[in-house]
């Protein structure tokens, strides 16, 4: 370490603190080379404290583009090239003020009469730039759904081991997101940590436990807006349900209220009704009035089912005189904008704003508003001013495809790739004391001038 430091000395201070009127010789370092293990990373001021406190990690599989994660944000790393020569000068020892001090670094060149020398170690042709990006949570979703938690899964043939199960640090290894974003993502997909593994709970299991809670509330006379946690857990545990899953169910469908005697849970009307709507719909299409009948029948008494609750969860379709309804959940769609819009336009080729909005309002792209996303991924048509605008898929092209290749950067670089010799210009012409030469005098010859 000590040796290395000494070798990499370049005298950067003396370059940066060069006093007015003085000069310094710049030369190649005796260890000048490619140094592919040296990278330049452009860092925001806001991001420096994280770096200095060792809280930054680069994440990505070998087939993914690397991202850089601080505790709370994710940045894409872009390599930016330059055609300039960027000479890197390593730091050096503090330069002494006295002018006749000689720098001992480079004794190799005996002809140097200068007192100070700075050495360049590498010519850097690229540096890394950071761009704030959204975390890739779709992968998290697919990993979590590899093996959802089922009741009595321990009784299954125990051959799968831990395949398809992920601990917190497994997820950190796999997912390109910061720790905070990963935590939020797990919450978003309502995952729960069971025996150290992060799991999502199978839909059937959730349904079963919710019905058990509701049935017991009728039997025991529990109020739905104040379920006592201890009571619920103890009753359901006697039926053989694990405590962790019961609590997760309460958390998914309710809100915790601190009561005077222990923890109380209030079931959320919207969440519970939505759950029953999806159960009632199943997978297929249904006539609206039949669905409404079935749904209103299935929700627990005291709760009011309302179609407004199904925004972003179902789509309606008019076939003849009938309105049909089918499930189309925003939460099941991909989170990257391009994939999201592709999925949406596969479902329908034309969208009205009121239908489209619930499916895209959760899209978050750093540096791009919802308006910007619409401009990028959709084409807006409005036949007349009093008609609602319709959004359809945009051509999805990049402008570069429409520009001639002569205007590309590659061509520009090619055109100037050869060495261009500087030539002396007007300002280098010698000056002389002669009167400036003017135009020749015009001699008027005798006779009438010709027309």
């Amino acid at each position: 370490m000590e040796v290395e430091d000494k070798e990499l000395r370049g005298g950067a201070e003396s370059v940066l603190n060069l006093a007015q009127g003085s000069s310094i010789s710049i030369r190649y370092h005796s260890l000048f080379g490619d140094y592919n293990d040296l990278l330049l990373l452009e860092a925001d001021e806001a991001f420096l404290p994280d770096i200095l406190q060792n809280r930054v990690t680069i994440r990505g599989q070998t087939n993914e583009e690397a991202v850089l994660c601080t505790p709370s944000a994710t940045y894409a790393m872009k390599s930016v090239g330059t055609s300039n020569s960027v000479f890197l000068i390593p730091p050096g020892k503090p330069i002494l003020v006295s002018v006749n001090d000689t720098c001992s670094d480079n004794k190799a060149n005996p002809s140097a009469v200068t007192e100070e020398v700075s050495s360049i170690i590498k010519v850097a042709s690229t540096n890394m730039e950071l761009v704030l990006v959204a975390p890739s949570l779709d992968k998290l979703k697919s990993l979590l759904h590899e093996r959802p938690y089922k009741l009595n899964e321990d009784l299954e043939v125990e051959s799968r081991g831990n395949v398809g199960l992920y601990r917190w640090h497994d997820l950190l290894e796999q997912i390109q997101a910061s720790e905070q974003e990963l935590k939020d993502g797990l919450k978003l997909f309502s995952a729960v940590e069971i025996d150290g593994f992060w799991r999502v709970i199978d839909g059937k299991t959730m349904d079963e436990i919710l019905s058990m809670v509701l049935n017991n509330s009728i039997l025991q006379g529990w109020p739905l807006n104040a379920l006592k946690e201890d009571e619920v857990v103890s009753v359901l545990e006697t039926d053989g349900y694990p405590q962790k899953i019961i609590l997760h169910c309460l958390e998914t469908f309710g809100i915790m209220v601190e009561g005077s005697d222990g923890k109380l849970w209030s079931l959320d009307e919207k969440k519970v009704c939505l759950h029953f709507a999806l159960v009632a719909l199943g997978g297929g299409m249904m006539k609206l009035d039949i669905f409404l009948q079935k749904w209103k029948h299935s929700v627990p008494s005291g709760m009011q089912a309302d179609l407004k609750m199904l925004e972003g969860e179902v789509l309606y379709e008019k076939l003849g005189f009938e309105t049909w309804i089918h499930a189309f959940r925003a939460s099941a769609l991909p989170s990257s904008p391009a994939m999201r819009f592709a999925a949406l336009f596969r479902e329908r080729s034309k969208w009205e704003w009121k239908d489209l909005e619930p499916y895209i309002r959760d899209l978050r792209v750093p540096g791009l508003s919802l308006e910007g996303l619409l401009i990028k991924y959709t084409r807006r048509t409005q036949p007349s001013a009093d008609v609602e605008p319709i959004f359809s898929a945009s051509v999805g092209d990049i402008p570069e495809n429409y520009v001639h290749q002569w205007y590309t950067k590659d061509m520009f670089m090619k055109a100037y790739s050869r060495f261009i010799k500087p030539i002396p210009g007007e300002e280098d012409w010698p000056h002389e004391d002669h009167a400036p030469s003017g135009p020749p005098t015009c001699n008027v010859l005798p006779g009438r001038p010709r027309k």
């Binding site: 310094i24 000048f32 990690t57 730091p91």
Partner: protein, 146 residues
């Protein structure tokens, strides 16, 4: 896979590196070949300018002179060095023995930028010769016209 970015610089004082940036490429003469180590590229001078408060820098490379200024980078550059972690014991969360990591070994906050084209330096003897030649030429032309 995770690559830790480490920084051993204590109390927010990373060693500061410097950049000298210029347009185009510096080429060494063909007879030097690859023996460029310890070779002098040029001379960097800091000249006091009369008008602006910013000092001007000139960089003389061969017969070319560049002029530029010192620029403070809006976003500082960090110099990272790829390393293979040896002290895996110190990081129990990352037990794999050969995990690569990046270490911050420096920071660059300012550079000396030469963004104009180089100016050719013409030695004085040449220009005197040229002047004499031009004078002769002018005389010759004027006599011819008259």
């Amino acid at each position: 896979m995770q690559i830790r970015v480490k920084c051993n610089c204590s109390d927010e004082k990373c060693p500061e590196w410097a950049i000298v940036e210029l347009q185009g490429v510096v080429e060494s003469q063909s007879n030097i070949g690859d023996q460029i180590h310890d070779l002098e590229i040029g001379k960097l001078c800091c000249s006091s300018s009369s008008s602006s408060s910013q000092p001007r820098y000139t960089f003389t490379v061969g017969y070319h002179e560049l002029s530029g200024t010192k620029v403070y980078l809006k976003k500082p550059l960090l110099v990272l060095k790829k390393k293979v972690a040896e002290d895996a014991a110190a990081l129990p969360e990352f037990p794999a023995s050969s995990t690569p990591e990046l270490e911050v070994i420096g920071i660059i906050c300012q550079k000396i930028l030469f963004k104009t084209r180089p100016k050719a330096l013409i030695s004085s003897t040449v220009s005197i010769l040229q002047a004499i030649f031009k004078l002769l030429l002018l005389n010759f032309i004027s006599s011819f016209i008259l």
